[in-house]
Symmetry: C2
Subunit: 202 residues, 2 copies
């Protein structure tokens, strides 16, 4: 496309590196941006720089934060120090927070063990978790293993259970089965099989 | 989502203003960016600022350019000055350029007439077009009306034909019909009807 001036091509190329955004979508986004007030471009650029310069991992839970040192959840004194929920990603943390049902603390692993993707234990935030449990967070009584109920997530939960079994903690795993409001006939086979296998006494 | 630190929320909100990007996709993009080298965030921000500060309309064809004054197509001496192709958008220009079949000049209207969207003749780059034809570009013999074959595009072409009819120019319209390699059975009704109505003698 010889008619695209260079800054447009450069921005298109930058945007098309993002997941789910191809060359054509990137070009559509750029032309949308060009039709807007230039202030919007500056605002977006500023937001990017702000994230690049101010967001870092919380020194306690490894979640991402713009606070100095620890994040707002770790800082909140109303949180229950006895329950620690171990999750794979910040998006999962956001999803749990959105339920409003959990008032304990979090620890973000930033991934799950995955032999296929080459994610090994040393790629996850396991050392900071062990350091917390042996150091500042001695009051933790229960560890909820909330990695996803996928092959990699289950493997990560099992690995954690083995690693932390000797710490005298109560280790729990989030429930997995047919979703609330879901239809049995539309549930996939592994989910339905698990729902039956993990049935509970009423 | 109380766990999202503010710069992340700000960037998510900026990204979710883009067309086709909802809150969830924006958050996915932000978390993708956070997993990358921070230099990538800076590069994207820099590309945005570069577009905001250096891209402007070509003073001749109204296309967007980072050149001083006129764009590279208007500047190219090998282009045919006798044929001027009027298009609705820069994307359309890029599509025509990609065919490699057109060596004339362009004029970008930046839209089509649309009573529904409230786009009136004064919102298009018609004055610059008239000024070109009466001024620097007296050598133009043929004007190809290449607005899209949609309701708005046809209306724009008709409006232009009426406006420019008295200029002693040859006015042409791009062909519209069943796409090359297309199947008649899968062509939509208006396209097939037009392909029959506008049939040509072999």
């Amino acid at each position: 496309m010889t008619s695209s001036p260079d800054p447009i091509r450069a921005l298109t190329s930058q945007l098309s590196r993002l997941p789910g955004i191809g060359e054509r979508t990137a070009l559509r986004l750029v032309h949308h941006l060009l039709r807007q007030d230039r202030a919007l471009l500056h605002a977006l650029a500023h937001a990017l720089v702000d994230v690049a310069e101010h967001v870092h991992e919380c020194s306690r839970c490894c979640s991402l934060t713009a606070n100095e040192g620890v994040c707002s959840v770790c800082r909140d004194p109303r949180r229950d120090d006895t329950v620690l929920c171990v999750i794979a990603t910040m998006q999962d943390q956001a999803a749990i927070e959105a339920t409003g049902e959990f008032r304990g603390r979090y620890h973000v692993l930033h991934g799950t063990l995955s032999p296929l993707d080459g994610t090994r234990p040393e790629d996850l935030r396991l050392q900071p978790l062990l350091a917390r449990l042996q150091g500042d967070d001695k009051s933790v009584r229960e560890l909820i293993l909330a990695t996803p109920p996928s092959v990699d997530g289950e493997a990560t939960a099992l690995y954690l259970a083995k690693l932390l079994g000797a710490h005298g903690l109560s280790l729990t795993r989030i429930a997995s089965g047919v979703p609330v409001g879901g239809d049995l006939q539309f549930a996939d086979k592994p989910t339905l099989a698990r729902a039956i296998a993990l049935r509970r006494v009423l």
